[in-house]
Symmetry: C2
Subunit: 167 residues, 2 copies
DNA sequence: CACAATTCAATTGCGTGCAACTGAATGACG
DNA sequence: CGTCATTCAGTTGCACGCAATTGAATTGTG
């Protein structure tokens, strides 16, 4: 028999670990399928955004993907070295860097069109199941991000006295 | 208007990206809460397994967590440097390394008992919702692992002639 | 018993992911 | 107009996560 604390420890392990494992499993399947395109999974996500929006500054790319420049800068350098994107400092704002697809990058989209079908068949899930799961995960992400934002200023997220930290 | 291929590309981005984002969001919340314990999120998962099973060889630890020695070896070295675990080569099988909690490692469990509650409150999800979500994610992981195993031997997962690869 | 195949942990190399910092460019404010 | 704060990309440092390899120990087989 377990104490209530033990039960919580167990349940906790299940949730966070299940998510962790599912994410890595997805990553593994993508790895195998994307190998033929010469892309990693995060690189594929970047290409998806670029295929959809065309040309974007690094900042906007980061907002779409929830990634910062610390992750994107080296990743984009690799995509540029692979000849898929170009990076050019914006003329209007010299701080900003525009990321733009090359012809090669645009052409890769044709070969990438088969990827989603192969992934979907790997999951064995139907479109409706996937939609539901996605919605739940997005709720979860929103809630977690909000909690992290609250917890960041100081230690305890229970006491929400997290304002007035300006000098 | 979009072609069916475009729709698939969109849907695909939603699923994989939602999972990716949720996993990182979880990671962020754990990072904040575990900072006080001096643990990272994967290190916390290792400690959870050890608190539950006591003493384990690296191999078994890897099976519980779906991680290999390439990830666990340096992680366990850090836990050892932090004084939470000891690693000793097994007497019966010199290849195996037993990972065992130190007194300090056992004591840390007391402080970790509050973690699950804080995480659960961060999600805003009820126990039942969490259970359902976990079950879906585990189904997903199982399906994806099976697909990856099929795809690994050669290129196409559609033709399942992936036997007889022995010389 | 000898020899080959297997198992196990560790190491190396690469690509994220994130915190912290740097440095340049821009904007705000007196 | 000049200073100060903010914004943006890049870099550094650290910790996974995984493929591939190494090397030692064990097991299986003849």
């Amino acid at each position: 028999m377990n104490t209530p604390d033990d039960d919580w420890l167990r349940l906790d392990q299940q949730i966070c670990f299940s998510l962790h494992a599912a994410s890595r499993a997805f990553n593994g399947v993508y790895r195998g399928i994307l190998k033929g395109l010469g892309l990693t999974y995060p690189q594929y996500l970047v290409m998806l955004v670029l295929w959809e929006h065309g040309e974007l500054p690094v900042k906007k790319l980061g907002e779409h993907l929830r990634l910062d420049s610390g992750t994107l800068s080296p990743l984009l350098k690799r995509l540029e070295a692979a000849g898929l994107v170009r990076r050019e400092r914006s003329a209007r704002d010299e701080r900003s860097v525009e990321v733009r697809l090359t012809e090669e990058g645009v052409a890769l989209r044709g070969r990438a069109l088969q990827v989603p079908r192969r992934i979907a068949s790997s999951t064995g899930f139907g479109a409706e199941e996937i939609r539901t799961l996605r919605a739940r995960l997005d709720e979860l992400t929103t809630a977690l991000d909000a909690a992290a934002a609250l917890a960041e200023p100081q230690g305890g997220p229970s006491t929400a006295a997290a304002a007035a930290e300006r000098p």
